[in-house]
Subunit: 295 residues, 2 copies
Amino acid sequence: MEFKEELKKYQDIVNSELEKYILKEECPEKVLNQSMEYSLMAGGKRLRPILIISTYQLFKDNIQQCMPYAIAVEMVHNFSLIHDDLPGIDNDDFRHGKPTNHKKFNEATAILAGDGLLNGAYQVISKDIKNTHYQELPSKLQVFEEFSEAINRLIAGEYVDTEYEGKEISNQYLEYIHKNKTGALIKLCVRIGAILAGASNQEIQELGEYAEKIGLAFQVKDDILSEEGDEKVLGKPVGNDASLKKCTYVSKYGLEGAKEILENLTKEAIKKLEPFGDKAQFLKELALYIQNRNR
Amino acid sequence: MEFKEELKKYQDIVNSELEKYILKEECPEKVLNQSMEYSLMAGGKRLRPILIISTYQLFKDNIQQCMPYAIAVEMVHNFSLIHDDLPGIDNDDFRHGKPTNHKKFNEATAILAGDGLLNGAYQVISKDIKNTHYQELPSKLQVFEEFSEAINRLIAGEYVDTEYEGKEISNQYLEYIHKNKTGALIKLCVRIGAILAGASNQEIQELGEYAEKIGLAFQVKDDILSEEGDEKVLGKPVGNDASLKKCTYVSKYGLEGAKEILENLTKEAIKKLEPFGDKAQFLKELALYIQNRNR
C-alpha cells in the first residue's frame, strides 16, 4: 500500500473509534460535550494515535488492544491545543482552518472542554485497566504511569514556552521546551505501542529514541511552517511567531539552519528503525512525512 | 478528643503529607510548581481528604493506605478552584483571603497550574497502583474508575453553573449543578475511604448516601455564607453571587428556606451513620460542622 493510502486508512480507523467515545445524549452539559467533539473532530492529523497503532503492529496485529490508549492520547493532545489557544496563553483565533474552541464557543467552555478532555483520557484508561486480565496488568500499569508523567512534561514545556515568550533563551532551554511540550507525548505514543505489544526493553528503548528524533523534527518543521508555510494549507496565520517574539528553531538558527537540523533528525530517526527491517516501513515513511509535510 | 482538636489533627496530617508531594527542585518550570504549591497550601479546610481518612478509619487504622488518594483528591479540588476563579469563568480576585492564583501569578500560569494539579492527581494514583499487591488491585482499580467519573461530573457541574449564570433555572437544574459540582467529589471521598478499607457494598452505599447529604448541605451553606457571611472570616467578598445573578439556594428559596434545607440535610446525613455507632462520631460532628461553619 502507498504511504498516503496507509496513513489515510489509519486516520479513518482513529476517527471512527473516536466517534464511539463522543457522548451525544441529551444532558444539561450537552454544549460542553459538543465543544469537546468540535475540537476532537476538527481534522487533526492523528499522528499520535497512529504512532501507537503502527508501533504496536511492529509486534502484534490485534490493534483493539491499544485503541483505548490511542483515543486517550488524542484527547490529551486536543486538551493541550484548546488550552494553548486560550486568550490567556497564545490567544489564537484559528486552528486547522477553523475558529479555535474559545472563538467558536466561549472562554469558560473552552477551559472546561480542555479539562474534560484531559480527565476523559484517564476515564478511558481507567475503564480499560479495570477490564484487563491480571496477567496483562503490569504493562497497562506501566503505561498508565508513563502516560501521567508525559502529560506532566507537556504542561511543564508549555509553561516554559509561555514564560520565555519574547525573551532571549539558551539553546538548552529551547530544546527543553520542545522535548517536553511536543516530544514527551510523541515518545510516550511509541513506547505505549511497544509496551502493550510486549516488546523487549531494548526494543522499547530504540523505538523511544526514534520517537525523540521525530518529535523534535516535528517541532522544527512546525517552526519552519510557521515562518514560510502557506496560510491556506496550514489553516492558521503565518509569521505569528515572529510577531509574538516566540523562541523557535527558526529564530534561533535561521531558516536554513532549521532545515538542516530537520534533515539530520529525520536521518537519525530512520537509522533507529534498522533492527526492525521491512516491518518498520510505515514508521520510516512517517518520519519522512513529518519532514516534508506542508501542514 | 474534642471535635475541633481532632479536625486540626487531621488537617495537620494532610498538610504534612501534601508537603511531601510538592516539588521544590530547581527546574525551568519552577514558578509553575510554586503556583501549584501556592494554591495547594493557601489554607483550605482539607474537608475532602479528611473525609477519605476518617471514613477509612471506620474500618481500619493503617491510614497510609489511603493517603495517596487523600492527596490526589485535594489536588483535584484545588485544580477546580484555580480554573473556576479564572477571568474567563468566575473572575474572582480572592480565595481563602489571598489573591487567587491568576492574580498572584498570571492567567497562563493559573491555567497550567490547574492542569498540572489535575494531571498530578493521576500521577499520584498511577504510582500508588503500580506499587499495589495484586490482591488489593481490584479495589484500587475501582477507586481509579470512580475518581475519573467524579471529576467528569465536577467539570459538567461547573459548566452548567456557568452556562446558567444570570438565567432563571428549575429546581431540578439547581440540584443537578450542586450534585455534580460539589457533591460528586465529596461522595467520591467517602466511597474511596470505604472501598479501600474493604467495606461491604451495603456499607459503601450507606456512607455514600451520608456523603450526598453533607455534599448538598455544604453547597447550601456556601450559598448562605455568600449572602450573609463575614467577609473577613470568609476571605472573599460577600454578596457577589447576587450581583452576578448566580443561581443559588438563597436566590431560589430565600435565606430562611435555605437554612431549613440545610438543617434537614444535616439531620438526614447523621441518620445514615446510625449503623456505625460510636465509631462514626467524628463523621457526625463533621456534618454538624458543615452546618455551623462560618467560613
